[in-house]
Subunit: 336 residues, 2 copies
DNA sequence: GGAACATATGGAAGCGTTTCGATGCCTGGA
DNA sequence: TCCAGGCATCGAAACGCTTCCATATGTTCC
């Protein structure tokens, strides 16, 4: 009757079993609805003991026995980028709904850090690693992961044996740029984020090229820069310093676009009258910039869904690529 | 010579020991550099075996034995808020430097979710929980945490027996508002984020009151709203709809300020000429809004440092409160 | 040359779970 | 009355690691 529990004492299953006068096996059966049935009266006694002792199972021990900690890992190049923050949060929520936690690692767009992050997650025995890699596909494929399943996101170049769930960047960029073309722009520049692997062309840039080519327009100026607000700012200044600056800019991320907005404002140019802007991502930040950004929204919810399904699937990893389509959110920065 | 390893096979310490012709104890000694010394030749043989087998220790097993998973947990009300994203990232980095990982949980400013997050982290046996709570102090104190250490952040009301590391919100708000007063503003409004616990006054609001009182100015209008960009937007529209809107606004977060900026722009008012704005947080977003926000920067690095020290300390939890001072970053939105 | 001592290594217990057999009891049918 | 068959429960092994204690060498000093 009297509730025991000494301050910070660790109550284990043994304590509960003793208190309820049963074996630890029975306690397990009750807690897990376990493989064996338990008489109703006994079960009630066990539950009573758990309550009285304030017992909480030790997830670490369970993980060791089960070979799974119900833990997922995710590695992103910049966890403070609002897109990744929103994505990570959405995935974490979906994971939590299935009893999994999500361990977030930030590679800071650095190859070595990403490798370390991977080793770390592997040794922590995560059940799967969700990876927005900055490494070339071959290296990703070669990496030692003790058979831990991986799911690639945010990337279009296929990697043998590893499933990829990604936004269709090319399609997204295409609709963004087409929208700008629809406004009559003929000279459309692009801001693209610099990658670790310079040989890998950004599919958004491809989409931009394609849209331009389809409309019979010449390729506008492309600026490669860091994937940050500051990067977008600097790149846009360079664009504006051109003898003949573009009349519209497609930014391959909200972050870049926000930097661009500042550069354009500072140059005392009007948006969208002097220069129109369309961005990519569709984070909340794009909704509150000035002017509000017309943006190509990545389907975060669907990505999270599909990624989780792939990460938790028990089937042999398929290794294909699944591209999710985007949606154009029309606001003010395009001239609508 | 020949490297073995079958596909996804789990290589354990036993395999390494067998391969190197030693006991598992020796393998441990080599890996951990302790507690017993190992002959140089033997150690080399073990390392060789580890390499050949691509052995990686199982952190879960280690955690069970050691009683610590080298895991910290953090619960924040909104992980996509750039301030918390930056803070979490900084703490994660500092933790990683000491061999700890950080598990992030998002309470969505919801009491019940926060409770669940706590239970979850406790059962995962984290070594400490860093908590930006939305609950009243008494409930936090009463919560069952199996003796797991907690550190409170982002909060000034003291809680018995739990150490608090927080920005000095009141001081920060004071210098922000004083700066506005220095610009000659007499009618300064404030945007404050709504809390779960309506009885707990926001210390930033106190700072604002104090600065005003010190200058002999009347209290301006205060708008309570959601802690989001949208919230800041709506609250500011209400402010602007007042018969006599304030000439300056102090926003108690960057998020709120960004929303405010949009509302002011939409009203075709000039910032800072018609309405000046000073925000609180100092995230990167404040640097790229238009105009750039003058802001009271929270000392994220120092917070991370102190929080980690408190979380990892082996001493009896002190239970005091440590307030860190802010710094005013002067940019354009204040009129400078 | 033998005892006392370092030094290097091995054996085994224990961390808190899960779950597989094994056991004991009770029921009902013959 | 006896036995087969079910049901409820228990005992113990296993998960991979750390570390205490013991043992087996080799060394040094009288």
């Amino acid at each position: 009757m009297a509730s025991m529990q000494i301050g910070s004492g660790k109550v284990t299953r043994t304590d509960v079993a003793r208190y309820a006068g049963v074996s630890t096996a029975v306690v397990s059966y009750v807690i897990n609805g376990g493989p064996k049935p338990v008489a109703a009266a006994t079960a009630e006694r066990v539950r009573e003991a758990i309550r009285a002792l304030q017992y909480q199972p030790n997830a670490t021990a369970r993980a060791l026995t089960m070979g799974s900690a119900r833990l997922l890992g995710i590695i992103v190049p910049d966890s403070t980028n609002p897109y990744f923050a929103e994505l990570t949060d959405t995935i974490a929520q979906a994971a939590a709904a299935r009893g999994y936690a999500l361990l977030t690692a930030n590679s800071r767009t650095d190859a070595e850090t990403e490798r370390q992050n991977t080793v770390n997650l592997v040794s922590r025995q995560v059940d799967a690693i969700i990876l927005a890699t900055v490494l070339p596909p071959s290296e990703v494929a070669a990496m030692q992961v003790q058979g831990i399943r991986r799911v690639l996101i945010d990337q279009s170049s296929i990697v043998h044996g590893i499933p990829i769930i990604s936004t269709d960047f090319e399609q997204g960029a295409t609709i963004g740029v087409k929208h700008l073309i629809g406004h009559g722009h003929q000279d459309i520049g692009i801001l693209v984020g610099r990658d670790i692997d310079p040989t890998r062309p950004d599919p958004r840039q491809n989409g931009w090229k394609k849209a331009l080519a389809d409309a019979g327009l010449p390729e506008g100026p492309a600026e490669l820069t860091d994937f940050t607000r500051q990067g977008g700012y600097e790149a846009t200044r360079r664009l504006l310093a051109l003898p003949k600056p573009p009349t519209a800019i497609f930014a391959s991320s909200d972050l870049l676009a926000v930097g661009a907005l500042r550069a354009i404002h500072e140059a005392n140019l009007s948006i969208p009258d002097d220069i129109a802007v369309v961005s990519f991502d569709g984070t909340s930040e794009s909704e509150f910039s000035w002017p509000q950004l017309t943006t190509v929204r990545q389907p975060i919810d669907r990505i999270a869904d599909r990624v989780l399904a792939a990460a938790l699937s028990t089937e042999e990893p398929a290794g294909g690529i699944e591209l999710l389509t985007t949606e154009l959110i029309v606001r003010r920065s395009c001239g609508c």
